[in-house]
């Protein structure tokens, strides 16, 4: 297997880890904002929690998984 292909697969684990870490961090951050009492903070918190967070987590984790199983190997 080519060196770059190996790197792609190893990085895949990194993308999964990054997705999960960002997801966890955003939940903590969003929760703090939602419970802060300020209306603008609450709106911001909900946007982070319900919009940005699922997109980041889903896309990075699934992308990472595809990378690990070699879906992005050169056709």
């Amino acid at each position: 297997m080519e060196f770059v292909e190996v790197i792609k697969r190893i990085l895949g684990v990194g993308w999964i880890a990054l997705g999960l870490y960002i997801g966890y961090d955003r939940i903590i951050d969003s929760y703090a904002k939602i419970t802060s009492g300020g209306l603008s903070d609450q709106i911001f918190g909900w946007i982070l929690l319900l919009v940005l967070n699922p997109i980041i987590v889903f896309s990075l984790v699934v992308f990472g998984y595809f990378a690990v199983i070699g879906e992005y190997a050169k056709d």
Partner: protein
């Protein structure tokens, strides 16, 4: 060969008709953002301007957040019934919603119904925009010959920037023709109302266009997708490209795009620069940089899309901090030498909302030609001090800012010029509209559209923590997103010219 020649000959008309409609959609969309501070006072409860502004920003974000839903809805429609019909619908929806925003009575007149209607119309705008871009680029791309797709679709890519440019020009024109108070009271509605004329012109042009030849061929052969959503996102073979498009291209493009244009505009306004001069700086930079969309689009036909987009992201990551530091330095009056003889200061007191304030107004002039009006208000009950600066830069500083924003817009043209061709070539015709619209609008709309909101919040947190250079903290978001995108782009996008399955 004969068919290709015929298509190429009619291409300028196709590109023009598609670009004009998309330009008008962007114009409509950006009016709201450009007039956010004025709209907030009209439609959201008065008394707390910050809350009102944030409410508007939230509505602004809602406009972006809803875009992916528009992408899915209209993308599916475009793959089922055709590109032409779909982008006629999106255009009408956008123009109608924009026109109606200009007619909504203020909060003072109809209470909470006013912000509710405005937010609803804003959501409709977002839905329409979500469907428009994919339709226009797919339409042009499916008319374009191999080896010229980057060039022809790059005309569509200019429309987002030109739409912003036109919106700023119209606002400047209307604002310049009346007093500040009249503009704040009712004049801001004019740019929204003008939209109805633009809509009519655009519909007239688009209604005469033919359906995309590739889609028509598929339809004639009975090969169109019966379930574009399932085929686009429920199929691993296609989903992997949707994710690659999002994480390796559109996500980074979105944050570079918004930082270079919108965040830069907000940043210099937040430094106290006068409204009209701020708009002029951005206008000039946009005018000079816009042709580069075409340059990089055409160049991508020769050397491939990947490395041009990657270089744009790389340059943004490496240079945003020094650029914004310089922008701050250029505006900051504490770095300038005051001409005492030409400067004056007066003190007095005033009552506002039953609260007494001590007010000091300084009119300063500096050796570089900059003028600044600094109003310091001290609340006599709480002791709270607020400072409002209105800075008019001298020529040298003004042109420095133009150059600094021009550089950022060049990065925008590098990431954005080739991206339509890149996305079109990634997906097959029968699900192209759906497949390319979603990653584009998540990348541009969600990751990019949230730049002002997230970056402003980062600056506020950094300021509260007492960080040095807190004004730069907002850059961490676009830099972080662009860095992830750059790595994915470099490693996972194959350095070959993607071609359509039909090529």
């Amino acid at each position: 060969m004969a068919t290709q020649k015929l298509q190429t000959q009619g291409l300028p008309r196709v590109v023009f008709a598609s670009s004009v409609g998309t330009l008008i959609e962007w114009y409509d969309f950006y009016l709201f953002g450009s007039l956010a501070s004025i709209i907030s006072l009209q439609f959201f409860p008065k008394g707390n301007p910050t809350a009102a502004l944030l409410s508007t920003l939230a509505a602004f974000a809602a406009g972006f957040v809803v875009r992916p839903f528009g992408a899915v809805f209209f993308g599916r429609l475009g793959d089922l019934v055709g590109r032409k019909y779909t982008f006629l619908v999106t255009l009408s929806l956008m123009g109608g919603a924009t026109f109606l925003i200009g007619l909504v009575p203020s909060y003072e007149t109809i209470g909470f119904l006013a912000p509710a209607i405005v937010v609803s119309l804003r959501l409709l705008q977002g839905l329409a925009l979500g469907g428009e871009y994919g339709g226009a680029t797919t339409y042009v791309g499916e008319h374009s010959p191999v080896g010229k797709r980057g060039f022809y679709t790059s005309w569509i890519q200019t429309t987002a920037t030109v739409g912003l440019l036109v919106s700023l020009l119209v606002i400047q024109g209307v604002k310049g023709s009346m007093s500040e108070q009249d503009f704040a009271d009712w004049g801001w509605r004019i740019p929204f109302l003008l939209s109805i004329f633009l809509l009519m012109i655009s519909i007239y042009i688009r209604v005469r266009m033919e359906e995309s030849p590739l889609f028509k061929k598929l339809k004639d052969e009975g090969k169109i997708s019966t379930n574009p959503l399932k085929e686009s996102f429920g199929n691993k073979k296609n989903l992997k490209y949707v994710l690659l498009a999002l994480l390796g291209a559109t996500m980074g493009q979105g944050v570079i795009w918004y930082t270079g244009q919108f965040y830069a505009l907000r940043f210099i306004r937040s430094q106290g620069m006068e409204f009209t001069q701020t708009n002029n700086v951005v206008l000039i930079a946009l005018v000079f940089a816009t042709p580069f969309f075409i340059v990089f689009g055409a160049l991508s036909d020769k050397i491939g899309r990947k490395w041009i987009m990657a270089l744009g992201m790389f340059l943004g990551i490496m240079t945003y901090f020094p650029i914004y530091k310089k922008m701050h330095g250029v505006i900051d009056t504490s770095n300038k030498v005051k001409i005492e003889a030409s400067s004056s200061e007066s003190t007095g007191s005033m009552v506002e909302d039953n609260t007494r304030y001590d007010v000091t107004t300084a009119n300063n002039q500096y050796t570089d030609g900059t003028k600044a009006k600094i109003v310091t208000k001290i609340n006599l009950e709480t002791g709270e001090e607020t400072v409002k600066r209105t800075i008019n830069l001298g020529d040298n500083a003004f042109w420095w800012l133009v150059v600094l924003i021009f550089i950022q817009v060049i990065y925008v043209t590098m990431v954005y010029g080739p991206i339509a061709a890149f996305l079109i070539e990634l997906f097959p015709t029968k699900i192209r509209y759906t497949s390319m619209s979603l990653p584009y609008h998540i990348g541009n709309g969600v990751f990019g559209g949230l730049v002002p909101l997230i970056s402003t919040a980062l600056v506020v947190f950094a300021t509260q923590r007492g960080d040095d250079d807190a004004y730069l903290a907002g850059l961490w978001y676009p830099i972080g997103v662009a860095a992830v995108c750059l790595v994915i782009s470099v490693f996972y996008i194959n350095h070959r010219s993607y071609q359509m399955a039909e090529d």
